[in-house]
Amino acid sequence: MPDEPLIHARGLVKRFGEFTAVDGIDVDVHRGEAFGFLGPNGAGKSSTMRMIGCVSPPTGGMLRILGLDPVRDGPQIRGRLGVCPQQDSLDPELTVTENITVYARYFGIPRRVARERAAELLEFVQLDERANDKVEPLSGGMKRRLTIARALVNEPELVLLDEPTTGLDPQARHLVWERLFRLRQRGVTLVLTTHYMDEAEQLCDRLVVMDRGKIVAEGSPRELIERHSTREVLELRFGEDALEIYTGKLAGIGERVEVLPDRILVYATDGDAAAKAVHDRQLSPSSVLVRRSSLEDVFLHLTGRTLVED
């Protein structure tokens, strides 16, 4: 079958003892797609990725990767995957180049080919100037890019990236995004997890929103926003603590009001009109901001919680 999905999961379950980390999810990822798992800490993103990466057998449900069975054909499937794990696994004792060539050997790639690829890949992730340096002193962003380069050494059909930019500063993150964007353009199938909604919006053609082991929504970033949020959001801050009293005072403005600990969100098609309505009711917020809806709002609406707990 030519358009068999690269990842095909039905009712996929992962339990650790009594605890259910992944609770019956259905996922299809097709060739050439950039697919995301968006969800907060503990949603089950890594557990799902590890099952897809054939290092953690599913507890229940069905899972096919590249048309094969991950339990029976693990080594064969892993030979065609590229994995950038959430936790760093570079060897700090080796040089940047050696980290790639040694890894290439795991895949049975001949030494000469490994050296050529290492040079190309280091150029691709803009680390060619550090090729002969040890890994230990590299910055977090550089290590991440090296891990991505390493994951590409076997020319994988499917690249799994578990939180590729978590812990990086904005500039380092943009560098990673740009490289991933290039990969996507080359037609490499990407599957990534993130708890940054801007990352999901930037990189994913399609994504699922995960919460407590379940998929709570699925679609393109745009579809999700259209389906689960309004076009615009009015953010109001009042210089006081008890924001609940405003629920009543704001009733009828916009389509929906969310009260967060530090601010109130008014969901409306026209944010400016909503702001004017607030003003007309003699309420005087200390700050007023109109912005477009984002996946953060989708998540908040679906789960009642914010994505990044801070």
Partner: protein
């Protein structure tokens, strides 16, 4: 899509222990100079310290049949093989699981747990082999090797290395904290080194202690090494000593494979 179509593009090598061995070698290349130096320095210190100075006090009546230095040198060779094998399979293995996470990187490739165990065992053999060659050269320079059979001490050292590498790999993959390695040293390595016939004949000990020594892999290595360098017949037939060590190696290897698989699958 059928299973035959899905071989990775460009190469078809099946997973093997070799890449794991190569990774360890790449790390070792950074420290080999210091390591080779101590390979020669340690036996010199051992032989001077233990053999010559202690030897002046014991064995005055010649009850061992050979100078004390010549008696303990092959024992020290066997115990060095044990020490090196244990050194390479404790903290470095813990690190590859939990700190540097090398094994998790390997796990994302076609490599299987048995390739990891096999690669580590190969590397242990290399390190034990290097140390044994160094030790034997020093022994020859000290005039403690009485027979051409002495070269047989090298394969014996490799077998001793393999006999302890497997079980210790399994142990390292089982424990939760590296504090447990201190127990391994306290209750296995040090007692073996002291009481498994390296420094004095096991026959001098009470019966129970003697049987514990017989059960330890080191005693068999010591017997074989001593037989080789002194040209003595060993207590048991050579094949029996080797077979006993081989059982340790094979059972240890299988145990390590299953512990590695468990640790790397959740």
């Amino acid at each position: 899509m059928t299973a035959t179509q899905v071989i990775a593009p460009g190469w078809t090598a099946s997973p093997s222990p070799l890449p794991v061995f190569e990774h360890r070698l790449a790390g070792y290349r950074r420290i080999w100079r210091g390591s080779v130096f101590s390979t020669f320095l340690l036996p010199v210190l051992f032989l001077l310290g233990m053999g010559i100075s202690v030897g002046a006090f014991v064995n005055r009546a010649g009850e061992l049949g050979v100078p004390y230095l010549d008696y303990i040198a092959p024992g020290l060779l066997a115990s060095t093989a044990l020490q090196v094998a244990i050194g390479e399979t404790t903290w470095p293995v813990m690190s590859a699981f939990s700190w540097i996470r090398t094994y998790h990187a390997m796990r994302a490739s076609p490599l299987r747990p048995k390739d990891l165990v096999g690669g580590e065992t190969l590397f242990v053999s290399l390190r034990v082999g290097m140390s044994a060659v160094g030790f034997l050269i020093v022994m020859i320079l000290f005039g403690t090797v009485h027979s051409w059979w002495g070269v047989a001490a090298l394969p014996v050292a490799l077998v001793v290395g393999a006999a302890v590498a497997g079980p210790v790999l399994a142990f390292a993959a089982t424990i939760k904290s590296d504090n447990m390695f201190a127990l391994l040293y306290r209750f296995a390595v040090i007692p073996m080194t002291l009481f498994a016939g390296v420094f004095f004949p096991v026959a001098e000990m009470p019966l129970v202690a003697r049987w514990i020594a017989y059960a330890s892999p080191l005693w068999h290595g010591v017997e074989l090494c001593r037989a080789a360098t002194l040209g003595w017949p060993p207590l048991l037939p050579v094949a029996a000593h080797v077979a006993y060590l081989a059982v340790w190696a094979i059972v240890g290897y299988l145990l390590a494979c299953s512990r590695f698989a468990k640790k790397l699958t959740d």
